[in-house]
């Protein structure tokens, strides 16, 4: 600042170079530099110059070279709706384009223009044609053909391509064809300009020339218009062409009058779209140059080229058989060439084919078969009546109507016989199958009782049937008074059902109910209406009696009608909703014995295969990406049906009552288990099924069941306890039989388990001290263990029972081992896990081995000892120590106490099945 001040003071001394800046006007501020956002480039029209345009890569440069403004991007169509509504404008790409792009040679020209490159010779065509025609018509034809040689240098790409392919101007396009040379081009020898040859000469020479032509010479096809078979689209009459401008203009004078319905020859010649050259008239304007008349419809032939080869340069007859003529050939031509037989054929005969000389034989038509003489064209439908109590009356009526006799029916129903009836008829002895009747399992007393019940019910049924016969006769008896007659008729044969049930319409008035029952009874027994009245109350008046009688009738009717009405709508439940019914799989497996024999004979396949309908859960199908095979069924798994569980199991006991309370509860659980879900089918279900088939027996059984239930003394079954656990072993038992035998000595004694189970079960329930557990009675604890074990796998417990029964009753099943020890040793289901280590090989890190655990061989010996000396206390103590350790370990694993554990990790254990039950 100081320097500046000094310079101002002595201005004169300084020398100044250059032109001084214009002094700033007073009061005017210094011009601000142009901000960056305004440093934009604009074109001549004031628009922002595009650095990258929309259609060449981007949008116009706006604010900071973006589309927006400083305020941001606002759509141009946005108008505040308060003041005025925005009119919807449909924007096209043109709205975003500059005007210059819309020009003829811009990016998007608005009108279609043909550039020179692609311009065809279409403009010249008409002129050319005119010239050609003129040449043809002229005295020396063909002279104008030279004009073709002096063509424009520019030819279309299509022509160029065709030429490359060997096409020559004037030829047709298409495969080369074999044809007579004369037809393709006229023989030079006969080429005579101007004048026509004598017809005879031309025809004869044609045939002669043929012989000189080699067969393998082909020729380019003629450049001709194919016959276009345009359908008739106008509403003119057939053959009407409208006013032909050529005729109207040039031909009218030569002809008599304007013929709108010209013949075929005219048509064909017009395909060339030309005047008839034969007229020989020279006109000022000829050919297609005249274009298409306003009255003419077709103007599609704008690309047609006219060449000389199209035209006959020699005057002669029309070429026969040429493709040029099809069915549009001239009339006289057709008539001349075709024989009478061929006249029918309107199409063109293909090369190599000829019309058949004789027509094919007409197909023989067979007459319909003659109707039988007694045929009546009416069909009566006879309903098929199923056998049953409900339908027997209807059936009877129908049988009567059809004229069939009842006895007739009986004879025919040999299919209705069941196996045992047939057997009786044939005199065969009964089967001694493994599944005999249930009755054999019943005690003598029960059987007697069943028999009684059966007899009683049979008599009852007979009583029901008998009154039906007198009813019919009674219906016709005239002695009935009007009302009762009417009612009786109405009640009809179904009266029998009325009283048999517990339907009590007059339950409020016991006296009346009694009378009603009498009434029904007498009615059933077929008494006359007069005698019916004697059951009515004698103390009442006649009118009251009448009314009561009517009431009774009505009641009977009511009961019956509702009964029949409902029964027509419902079918009898096949299986009662009863606790005694069980669900068993609908499809039974084949007999295991059969399969076993098949396996032994190695006949795998049908004999060993069972196929069941199985319904997968819908979710499972979805997860497997598989369509549900049964979309509308709600069943999951195997289809189940309810079966009568009234089988031997009901008479057999589940374990005997014991002192232990827990045991009793367990028993209950087990019982309910076996009652509710015995899913596993056994052979007993098979025999049950057979029983089901025999309706009568099952009926009696169900009758007897109610009584039998009361005194269902469960006979004690020996070896129930023993047999229970062995079920799953029944199959592996075969394989591992020898093992078992070997093991038998080394089995732990029962009191070992007693000790264990006393411990665990008690601890679970009361968590008392271990010392107190020792005092538990051995017997109860054993039972405990047994029952807990049974309850544990719910699915198998019931089958256990069933298997027990099989074991107890069926001698064919191999007897299961009866000693408890053996069974306890085999609580492992299925094939065992392999031993951890082979004998001799020891594994160092064994987390589960208790430190104080004795060696296995020692232990086994001890076990043996224990077996012998059960009362020896010190052993027990020792054992308990061990197992308490184990128990603690297992408790730490948070496992349930009543499961099987398989401790196989002890070092040097020779056998894998050192399994314990906790």
């Amino acid at each position: 600042m100081a320097a500046a001040e000094s310079s101002e003071s002595d201005e004169d001394d300084l020398v100044s170079y250059g032109t001084a800046l214009q002094p700033l006007p007073e009061g005017e501020r210094l011009k601000k530099p142009v901000p960056l956002q305004e440093q934009t480039v604009k074109d001549a029209k004031g628009r922002y110059q595009r650095f990258h345009g929309a259609f060449t890569g981007g949008f116009s440069a706006g604010y900071f070279n973006t589309v927006g403004t400083k305020e941001g991007w606002a759509p141009s169509t946005f108008v505040s709706s308060r003041q005025k509504r925005a009119d919807r404008t449909v924007l096209g790409p043109e709205d975003f384009m500059d005007e210059e792009d819309l020009s003829e040679f811009g990016i998007a020209p608005k009108s279609i223009t043909t550039t020179d490159d692609f311009a065809s010779k279409a403009k010249d065509r008409i002129k050319e044609k005119a010239r050609q025609i003129a040449g043809v018509v002229a005295a020396i034809p063909g002279t104008t053909a030279f004009d073709d040689l002096i063509g424009p240098s520019k030819i279309t790409i299509g022509v160029e391509l065709l030429r490359k392919m060997g096409w020559k101007e004037g030829q047709g396009i298409g495969p080369r064809v074999k044809r007579k040379p004369r037809r393709q081009k006229p023989d030079p020898a006969v080429k005579i300009y101007g004048c026509a040859l004598p017809p005879g000469l031309s025809e004869g020479s044609e045939d002669e020339e043929d012989e000189y032509q080699p067969e393998n010479v082909t020729f380019a096809p003629k450049d001709i218009m194919p016959v276009d078979l345009t359908p008739k689209e106008n509403i003119h009459g057939l053959g009407y062409k409208g006013l032909d401008p050529s005729q109207a203009l040039f031909g009218a004078s030569g002809r008599e009058h304007l013929n709108l319905f010209t013949g075929d020859s005219e048509d064909t010649s017009n395909l060339i779209g030309d005047l008839r050259p034969s007229k020989g008239r020279k006109l000022g304007i000829t050919g297609q140059a005249f274009g298409v008349g306003a009255l003419e419809e077709e103007d599609d032939d704008i690309y047609a080229t006219d060449t000389l080869s199209k035209y006959d340069t020699v005057l002669k007859d029309e070429e026969p058989g040429d493709g040029f003529y099809g069915w549009t050939a001239p009339k006289q031509y057709k008539a001349k060439k075709w024989s009478e037989g061929e006249v029918k054929y309107t199409g063109r005969i293909l090369d190599g084919f000829s019309l058949a000389s004789k027509s094919s034989t007409p197909s023989k038509i067979y007459p319909p078969p003659p109707l039988p003489r007694n045929y009546r064209p009416v069909h009566y439908f006879r309903p098929v009546i199923a056998d049953g109590n409900e339908n027997c009356h209807l059936q009877k009526v129908l049988e009567e109507s059809t004229g069939k006799l009842d006895s007739d029916m009986r004879q025919q129903s040999r299919h209705a016989l069941n196996a045992s009836q047939r057997r009786e008829q044939l005199g065969e002895t009964g089967l001694k199958g493994p599944a005999p009747s249930v009755l054999e399992y019943l005690s003598e007393k029960d059987r007697e009782r069943l028999k009684k019940v059966k007899q009683a019910s049979e008599q009852k049924m007979k009583a029901k049937i008998i009154p039906q016969e007198p009813q019919n006769s009674r219906c016709h008896s005239a002695s009935l008074d009007g009302a009762s007659h009417k009612w009786l008729k109405f009640l009809g044969p179904q009266l029998a059902n009325a009283g048999s049930s517990d339907f009590k319409p007059f339950a409020k008035n016991p006296e009346k109910q009694k009378r009603y029952e009498f009434f029904l009874k007498s009615l059933k027994q077929g008494e006359e209406a007069d005698t019916l009245e004697q059951y009515l109350d004698p103390n009442t008046t006649e009118w009251e009696q009448e009314r009561e009688q009517e009431e009774f009738f009505r009641a009977a009717t009511f009961y019956k009608s509702s009964n029949s009405a409902l029964s027509s709508r419902f079918t009898r439940a096949k299986y009662e909703d009863d606790i005694d019914k069980v669900e068993v799989p609908r499809d039974q497996e084949n007999d295991i014995d059969d399969k076993e024999t098949a396996v032994k004979m190695k006949m795998f396949g049908k004999l060993t295969r069972d196929k069941f309908e199985w319904h997968p859960e819908k979710l499972l199908c979805r997860r497997f990406n598989v369509p549900d095979p049964y979309p509308e069924s709600s069943i999951v798994g195997l289809p189940k049906v309810k079966r009568d569980k009234y089988s031997v199991f009901n008479f057999l006991t589940v374990p005997e009552p014991t002192t232990s309370v827990t045991q009793a509860t367990n028993e209950k659980v087990q019982q309910s288990n076996s009652l509710n879900k015995p899913k596993k089918p056994s052979r007993w279900d098979v025999s049950d099924k057979e029983k089901e088939k025999k309706d009568s027996i099952s009926e009696f059984i169900s009758l007897a069941r109610s009584k039998a239930d009361a005194q269902q003394q469960q006979p004690p079954v020996p070896a129930t306890e023993e047999g229970r656990t062995g079920l799953s072993e029944s199959l592996p038992a075969e394989a591992a039989n020898e093992d078992k035998n070997q093991e038998e000595e080394s089995k732990p004694s029962m009191d070992l388990f007693k000790a264990i189970f006393a411990n665990s079960s008690d601890e679970k329930s009361s968590s008392s001290e271990e010392e107190s557990e020792e005092e538990e009675q051995p017997a109860t604890s054993v039972v405990d263990s047994e029952t807990t074990k049974q309850v544990d796998p719910p699915g198998s417990s019931s089958s256990n029972v069933q298997e027990n029964v099989v074991a107890a009753t069926d001698p064919s099943v191999p007897l299961l081992p009866t000693s408890k020890q053996e069974l306890d040793a085999t609580e492992e289901f299925g094939p065992k896990l392999p031993p951890a280590f082979s004998s001799g090989c020891t594994w160092q890190q064994e987390p589960e081995v208790p430190a104080s655990f004795p060696g296995p061989s020692k232990r086994e010996k001890k076990r043996k000892n224990r077996q012998k000396h059960k009362t020896k206390r010190e052993h027990k103590h020792k054992k308990e120590k061990v197992f308490n350790l184990n128990k603690l370990f297992i408790d730490s694993l948070t496992c349930q106490s009543n499961c099987f554990y398989y401790l196989c990790c002890y070092p040097g254990l020779p056998r894998p099945n050192m399994k314990m039950m906790f």
């Binding site: 497996e589 295991i592 396996v599 190695k602 795998f604 396949g605 049908k606 060993t608 295969r609 069972d610 196929k611 069941f612 309908e613 199985w614 319904h615 997968p616 859960e617 979710l619 499972l620 997860r623 497997f624 990406n625 598989v626 095979p629 798994g637 195997l638 596993k680 799953s728 199959l731 592996p732 075969e734 394989a735 591992a736 093992d739 544990d792 699915g795 198998s796 089958s799 289901f829 299925g830 094939p831 065992k832 896990l833 392999p834 031993p835 951890a836 280590f837 082979s838 001799g840 090989c841 594994w843 890190q845 064994e846 987390p847 948070t894 496992c895 499961c899 099987f900 990790c905 894998p912």
Partner: protein
């Protein structure tokens, strides 16, 4: 135009021991390849499940969470999840990366012998000695199985899945095939307790190993016996059977410490590999290579074909 396919090389069998993994988890109850055969899982009797790269012999991860010994395991198709089952009656679904138990399915009433994923790892199918096969949903949180297949009358020892079938082998001597697509259950009786079943790669046959020391090849559609393979010893234990990667051979573990291979078509004994002195506890064949995993006595051995050259030669 197309070149003729190169002539398929003769199917080879694993003949040389390449790796031995000392698992250190007690008895190896099962060894299983993952879906692509690059890794394997070993189920130990010390309640752990271990993930290995058997080709390199490296232990990758140990999964702990079972309450008792692990009996079987399987890996999902995308290697993101594992499922395992054990003697603690549970089926566990694991996350491979974190090693955490995602789900535990309780419902079996006994030891769970075998477990399998379906193709998309949305369902776990497990078979147990409680004679049921249970299908557990991996997608939802429902604790109960989607479906319980309780047709078996004895313990289920082996379960295999195809894309629309569940094959189960049971101790009751039946091979049951549940066809979800057809809605049918085909039950073939073999006569002896089944220890292991598997599908052939072409999906036409089932192979069943049973305790009568016999392997049987059954036609899937008709149940007819196509082949019977004998020579090994399998009378007591639950041992695995395998089919080689091209269905050319049938293999089975034996109680005498060998692994036997038979020619599938001829039924002749093709190879017996001495694996160890003890029982060969588990077998698994590589899905694409002639490569076998055999577990015995706490170790797992990897066997390869003769022509195989170990790259790192890190094996013992």
């Amino acid at each position: 135009m197309a070149f003729p396919q190169p002539r398929p090389s003769r199917p080879e069998l694993p003949r040389q021991r390449v790796q031995t993994l000392e698992c250190g988890q007690g008895a190896v109850r099962a060894v299983r390849f993952n879906a692509d055969g690059n890794y394997c899982l070993t189920c130990g009797s010390d309640k752990t499940l271990k993930l290995w790269n058997p080709h390199k012999g490296t232990a990758l991860r140990s999964y702990q969470g079972h309450g008792y010994e692990v009996l079987d395991a399987a890996g999902s198709f995308d290697n993101s999840q594992l499922c395992s089952c054990g003697a603690d009656k549970t089926v566990a679904l694991w996350d491979v990366a974190t090693g955490k138990v995602l789900r535990k399915y309780r419902g079996h009433a006994g030891k769970v012998n075998c477990v399998q994923f379906n193709e998309e790892a949305t369902i776990i199918v497990s078979g147990s000695i409680d004679s049921t096969v249970r299908c557990w949903d991996c997608r939802s949180r429902r604790p109960d199985p989607v479906q319980v297949l309780d047709e078996a009358k004895d313990g289920v020892s082996s379960v295999k899945l195809s894309n629309h079938e569940i094959l189960s082998g049971s101790v009751d001597g039946h091979v049951r095939r549940y066809d979800l697509r057809a809605g049918q259950l085909y039950s073939d009786y073999v006569g002896s307790p089944i220890t292991s079943v598997c599908f052939s790669k072409d999906g036409q046959c089932t192979l069943a190993a049973s305790l009568d020391s016999t392997l049987r090849l059954l036609d899937k559609d008709t149940g007819e016996l196509l082949g019977e393979y004998k020579g090994h010893r399998s009378t007591t234990y639950r041992l695995d059977c395998v089919l080689s990667e091209r269905d050319a051979h049938v293999g089975c573990a034996s109680e005498d410490g060998y692994v036997y291979f038979w020619d599938l078509v001829e039924g002749s004994l093709a190879l017996s590999l001495l694996v160890g002195r003890g029982v060969v506890q588990s077998l698994c064949f590589h899905p694409t290579l002639p490569c076998l995993l055999a577990a015995t006595e706490g170790q797992v051995q990897l066997w390869r074909e003769d022509s195989f050259q170990a790259q790192g030669d890190t094996g013992t």
